[in-house]
């Protein structure tokens, strides 16, 4: 076994998909690969500048991924400019990581997927695992030659669900996973603990949804994903999902649920999973839609 193969042992030993999840050992071995595009995406706006994995570019979820005016993601021109700026080409392999157990990294990966950029991987454990390994961070900000990459138009049908899709989904008793806290799910709280209410007028969950808080997929001590057996026990044993059914995941605004979307689609290999990014801030305000408590 080569050093590089061995470097993926921690992922493969867990039975997880080495084509979508890389270990810190693998990344350390591949940092100088010509085709690697490394991206850090955090909630904390200071973290990247304080230190990042050598060669990593920053993708800021507030500035880089969202439309500045309306509630939507960026358009193809802005996405092309973003990827061009970081030197992305069709030959690139993108590895994303970040703080908060890769919450924002998986969100960025999901947005990339809207534009058909799927040669992406997540660094298992993200920043916290890299740091716990005692590996180096740098403040040097890389510069890439503008690649001139032109993305394809956004596809909102494959991995994204809108409210009308969700209404049709529940009419046919489709599988739904609510990744918010149990208190948000049962309607005793309209928002995350200690978070201000983001304007949802009703509490509860979408009818038929099962509650599986997103962080259950992660080992809290180092932010790495749980093993395939643990994930199957959680999503299939407890929540009753199966790989062949259409599944929709949601949270409050679609960011926590992108983490669960990644787990279901790429770690458990589900063929048809969509993220409802309108989530509870939309559903909890819609007139006339059904709600369960």
């Amino acid at each position: 076994m080569s050093t590089l193969e061995a470097a993926q042992n921690s992922v493969e030993e867990k039975g997880l998909n080495p084509n979508k999840l890389v270990s810190t050992e693998w990344l350390a071995e591949h940092l100088n690969d010509e085709n690697l595009v490394l991206i850090e995406s955090n909630e904390d706006p200071l973290l990247y500048s304080q230190g990042h994995i050598p060669g990593a570019y920053e993708v800021d979820w507030t500035r880089d991924l969202n439309d500045p005016l309306r509630r939507d993601y960026l358009q193809v021109e802005a996405f092309s400019a973003l990827l061009s700026r970081i030197g992305y080409t069709p030959n690139s392999t993108v590895v994303l990581y970040g703080d908060k157990n890769n919450w924002w990294a998986t969100y960025a990966l999901w947005v990339f997927e809207l534009f058909g950029v799927t040669n992406t991987r997540i660094l298992d454990g993200g920043r916290i695992k890299w740091q716990k390994d005692g590996r180096a961070f740098t403040r040097e900000i890389p510069t890439a030659k503008n690649s001139g990459f032109t993305a394809t138009n956004r596809d909102d049908a494959t991995v994204r669900a809108f409210r009308d899709d969700v209404l049709k989904h529940i009419e046919k008793n489709g599988k739904l996973i609510d990744v918010r806290s149990p208190e948000e799910f049962n309607g005793t709280r309209l928002h995350m603990e200690a978070y201000p209410n983001e304007g949802a007028l009703r509490g509860g969950h979408i009818p038929g949804a099962k509650s599986v808080p997103w962080a259950k997929a992660v080992n809290p001590e180092d932010g790495t994903f749980k093993s395939i057996d643990e994930l199957k026990a959680l999503y299939e044993g407890e929540a009753g999902l199966d790989s062949g059914s259409e599944t929709v995941v949601y949270c409050r605004i679609g960011e926590r649920s992108s983490h669960t979307w990644f787990v279901l689609k790429y770690l458990l290999g589900y063929g048809n999973v969509r993220n409802y990014d309108g989530s509870w801030t939309e559903w909890g305000n819609l007139v006339g839609v059904p709600i369960e408590r």
Partner: protein, 140 residues
Amino acid sequence: MAIPAKLQEHIETLAMFPDRQERIDMLIGMGEEYKNFSPSDVVRDESCKVPGCESEVFLATEPLGEGLRYKFAVDNPQGISAMALAQILDTGLSGAPLSEVAQVPEEIVFDIFGRELSMGKSLGLTNMVKMVKAVAQASR
């Protein structure tokens, strides 16, 4: 009511850097000046834990000048924003009259960090300010 002079100085200094990256660099500098407190200085107890702050932040006070010294413990090594704000609140508010501290607007978080904060991050940082204000109010 006026913001205590030293805190106002911090805010005005940051306002001189409209460029986001320059402001971030300055805040990182402030965060790196911060030195964490030992458990004997700041007890890690639920009663003094800042709610909604993922960085596990705790507050303790002691008499100083016309008011109190505000000592934040930040145990998360990646909690750089919390460390920066801890340093700003300690150096900007410690010793200031309690009546002034109790009136500090929570929106200073956005004056310091800008508006590009997630809901979670802005909440945690805002709660640090709220906790200082509450302690000052209770000590008047």
